[in-house]
């Protein structure tokens, strides 16, 4: 019998997923600090929905339930989706989004390892298209909110019986959103960015969360759970592109650091575009893939109809993955290119 190699050494799939979730923890802590504990409710709702949907689908598909629930991939999808949604969105929004992500985007394609699209981003895109108003209604950071926002009030928002307090009282246009609308009113970037929601680099408060994501991302790199190609190419090209526009016309285009530290840039760079299943596998392919997402993200942010563009860019580039992989095969040992 030839069953060599007899030794193996690799973290299991579950271990990889657990470590990625661990890397998200600093970001979640910062999130709670800046926006309140409501996000924890959203994360829990998403997690429960994901596990239930996964179990249901595995049962319908006659697959073993335990090993696939334990692999942690459904939980990770749930977390990434929850972290992308406005934290005071009604409970059914996160449930619908997660359900769609797991059932349609993942299980109907064959489950773990077979989904061509990033499930969390499919869920996000579906929600953004179906419920654009709710999806763009972000609460202001606690320190900026007009009304005091207790955890109790947050729960009321999520579960839909907010007595008296309207969401408008606690929400505020995100910097990306605000920038876009104000630019159409012929204000210059310099005039716009004095608004209270702008912070040192990106969004006030938000930039703290983003920095925590960066920290988690560095942990992923240190643990060799991701390679440098995707985050470096994504952030690099995003910076280059926004830098070029900024150099040409600083009154209409913001500086590159703003783009890196607002919206879903950091979460995307380290946690979303690094989804191995729906991404390319060759080193060169990863560079093209991430660069493509960066370019599309910037174009959607500046010229598109949506405030942020990471989700759509990821999905668009997911479609190109088979082509990218085929075109970027590395030179095999002893072969000419």
């Amino acid at each position: 019998m030839n069953r060599s190699p007899y030794v193996t050494s690799a973290p299991s799939v579950s271990m990889i997923m657990v470590k990625v979730m661990l890397a998200l923890v600093p970001g979640i802590v910062a999130y709670v600090w800046v926006f309140g504990a409501g996000i924890l409710v959203m994360l829990s709702l998403a997690s429960l929905t994901a596990l239930a949907a996964e179990a249901l689908m595995l049962k319908l598909r006659n697959r073993p339930i335990k090993p696939f629930l334990m692999d942690g991939s459904a939980l990770l999808t749930a977390w990434l989706l929850a972290l992308s949604l406005p934290p005071l969105a009604p409970w059914w929004l996160v449930v619908v989004g997660t359900f769609f992500a797991i059932v349609i985007a993942k299980q109907l394609y064959g489950g773990l390892g077979y989904n061509p699209f990033n499930p969390a981003m499919v869920g996000y895109a579906v929600l953004l298209i179906s419920f654009p108003v709710i999806m763009t209604h972000w609460p202001a950071p606690l320190e900026l909110a007009q009304a005091k926002l207790s955890f109790e009030t947050q729960l009321q928002f999520i579960f839909g019986n907010s007595s008296g307090l309207s969401l408008d009282a606690v929400s505020m246009a995100t910097p990306l959103d605000y920038l876009k609308t104000q630019l159409t009113l012929h204000h210059s970037v310099q005039e716009i960015t004095v608004a209270p929601q702008f912070g040192l680099l990106g969004a006030k408060g938000g930039e703290l969360v983003v920095s925590a994501y960066l920290l988690g991302g560095l942990y992923l790199l240190q643990q060799r759970l991701i390679t440098w190609h995707l985050p470096v190419a994504f952030l690099g090209v995003l910076a280059l592109m926004s830098g070029a526009f900024y150099l040409v016309d600083a009154t209409h285009f913001t500086h590159p650091l703003f783009h890196l530290f607002t919206g879903a840039s950091m979460l995307g760079a380290f946690f979303i575009i690094t989804d191995p299943v729906s991404g390319p596998t060759t080193p060169k392919g990863k560079l093209f893939f991430a660069a493509g997402i960066a370019v599309l993200t910037y174009l959607i942010r500046v010229y598109g109809g949506y405030p942020d563009g990471v989700a759509f860019s990821v999905l668009l580039m997911n479609m190109c993955v088979p082509l990218i992989d085929a075109w970027t095969q590395p030179r095999v040992f002893g072969h000419q290119k």
Partner: protein, 580 residues
């Protein structure tokens, strides 16, 4: 230009180059290097498989009942690629029949069994003055040496030492990397017999006319490297050619010949060429020592150093006569510890489980590992591939194992071939690094054997089609000829009425036509035969020795599978009949 680049690489880059990818499993080499190389007592019986090498089966020269002396030729090399078999000690030939051999297929193969008489009586033998003798004669005599690559590939050494105008060897690479975990036979050999190895290097250098000799050793064997350095200093060869020990980082599979060549010289041997095409030849240290014993003492290849390690009381290395049952070696290793459930021949990365502990030690057997669940845990159930590409990161050949897996699994064999499946060296790094515990190498072995079988079937079909076309053509031609003949006869009959004597000429014409037709058919048959002879064994046009070995192995596997199926079918039928 490229040679210039290589020189630059050699001088500035060679120390820092590491294997592309590769892995570093726990070494487990200390266990078996605590004791000097031991000797086994003569076993009572030796079983010598005829096929201990890559290539043709050797021709048996003895009969059952023959008394044989130590070193006596039992079977001689047959054809270009083949190796001789000798009696490792004196005794009587008691059987020439199929017996279980150490092979992954678990199939029996031709063996010569010798009852050992215990006298260990040598046949007359003498040294050769290889410096003075003609090289062609030396190479011819090597056919009777029985020496094959002792690193594990078991390719006949005489073939590798032959040079011709096309393949001029400048650099002799000496493989002492021993990159597989657990195995320490080369390590111990170098520590104890470095001088003898260097004498073998002298011979190989002389035969090949190499201008430099590079000895590649992984940095986890400092004692061996030191011993080799010292031996190099003392060797007369140091004055003639560049001779040096190059220490390479410990990274599996640096001991793969092509990988080691790249590590030491910076040269990447093209996939469709042999290393000799780019002026390189690679030998294992133990093979070189065997060369020295053969020319300087007249001793053919009779024994080798084998590591016994793993779940045994006292792991160590022993000099073992070929044909010795593995049981004897295990005993010498102090016997097995509790829980031993398997015996692996080779290392844990590329070795295979023995079909029985009674199989003999062969020329390719560098290590026996007693396996237990606590040493090598059975792999957990495989999960789906998540395309993390860890396998691609560690692949020393820069393949995309995750794609090959996909294609192999879906039997998309053409695609697998396009993605260079046949460049896979089956080193096992991909499986080692897979978080989903997918037995990737198994999929590649399967896909390779399927592709080879398909190619065979296609060739057979092509041949059959050609034959059929020829047959149709012949039938058509015969029909025409008959028609012509009838027409002629009709004309002849009319003519006969007028001139009776013309009939004989028509018959003569008929005979001539008949003869011509027969000749044409005979020629066609000859052509078909010739074509068959040339096309049968080919499946990949550019067969490297490794690929040839692979094909041989794959054939054996297929054969095994077929037999298993047949047996099962037989059993099923049997049981059905029983039911009746």
């Amino acid at each position: 230009m490229s040679s210039l680049l290589n020189i630059v690489k050699q001088n500035f880059g060679s120390r820092t180059i590491a294997v592309n990818g590769g892995v570093h499993p726990p070494e487990h080499k200390q266990e078996s290097t605590k004791q000097p190389i031991g000797h086994l007592a003569l076993p009572k019986r030796l079983v010598l498989p005829l096929r201990q090498h890559v290539g043709n089966l050797p021709k048996v020269l003895v009969n059952v009942g023959d008394k044989v002396l130590k070193g006596q030729l039992l079977a001689e090399a047959e054809g270009n690629i083949s190796a001789a078999i000798h009696a490792p000690t004196s005794g009587t030939v008691v059987a020439i029949e199929d017996a279980l051999i150490p092979h992954p297929s678990g199939l029996p193969d031709h063996c010569i069994t010798i009852d050992v008489d215990g006298k260990d009586e040598w046949i007359a033998h003498c040294s050769t003055d290889w410096r003075k003798q003609d090289k062609t004669q030396l190479l011819e005599s090597l056919r009777d040496s029985g020496i094959v690559g002792l690193g594990g590939a078991a390719f006949p050494t005489q073939v590798k030492l032959r040079t011709n105008a096309k393949s001029h060897v400048d650099t002799l690479v000496i493989n002492a990397a021993e990159c597989e975990p657990y195995i320490t036979c080369d390590d111990m050999l170098m520590r104890e017999r470095a001088d003898q190895i260097l004498k073998g290097v002298e011979i190989a250098q002389h035969l090949l006319g190499a201008k430099q000799c590079l000895i590649g050793i992984e940095d986890n064997k400092p004692e061996a490297a030191e011993a080799m350095r010292l031996a190099c200093l003392n060797s007369p060869l140091a004055k003639l050619v560049t001779l040096k020990v190059v220490v390479v980082p410990t990274q599996y599979p640096s001991g793969d010949a092509r990988q080691l060549i790249r590590l030491l010289t910076g040269i990447e041997v093209p996939a469709d060429k042999r290393s000799t095409d780019v002026g390189l030849q690679c030998f294992n240290v133990a093979t070189l020592l065997a060369l020295h014993r053969y020319f300087d003492f007249g001793e053919p290849s009779l024994s080798r150093i084998v590591t016994i390690t793993g779940n045994v009381k006292t792991p160590a290395n022993f000099e073992v006569l070929f044909g010795t049952p593995v049981t004897e070696l295990v005993k010498a290793g102090g016997g097995v510890l509790a829980d031993t459930d398997d015996y692996i021949m080779g290392g844990p990365m590329m070795g295979f489980s023995l079909p029985s502990i009674d199989v003999p030690i062969t020329k390719a057997a560098n290590c026996i590992i007693a396996s237990a669940p606590n040493l090598f845990a059975p792999a957990p159930p495989a999960m789906p591939c998540i395309r993390c590409a860890r396998c691609a990161d560690v692949c020393p050949v820069s393949l995309q194992p995750q794609e090959l897996y996909w294609f192999s699994k879906s039997s998309n064999l053409e695609k697998a071939r396009d993605y260079n499946l046949f460049d896979c060296i089956e080193c096992g790094c991909c499986t080692y690094a897979c978080p989903s515990n997918i037995p990737l190498v198994q999929y590649y072995r399967f896909a390779k054997s399927e592709i080879i079988a398909q190619d065979r079937a296609k060739e057979a079909a092509d041949l059959a089609r050609e034959r059929n076309e020829f047959r149709l053509m012949r039938i058509e031609r015969e029909k025409q000829e008959r028609a012509e003949k009838h027409a002629q006869k009709a004309v002849g009959a009319k003519a006969e009425v007028a001139k009776p004597e013309v009939g004989s000429t028509i018959e003569a014409i008929d005979d001539a036509a008949m003869a011509a037709k027969k000749a044409a058919i005979a020629a066609a048959i000859e052509r078909a035969k010739a074509q068959k002879a040339t096309t049968t064994p080919q499946n990949v046009s550019d067969t490297k020795p490794t690929v040839e070995a692979e094909i041989a192995e794959i054939n054996a596997r297929r054969e095994a599978a077929k037999q298993a199926v047949n047996k099962q079918a037989g059993d099923n039928i049997g049981s059905k009949q029983d039911e009746k």
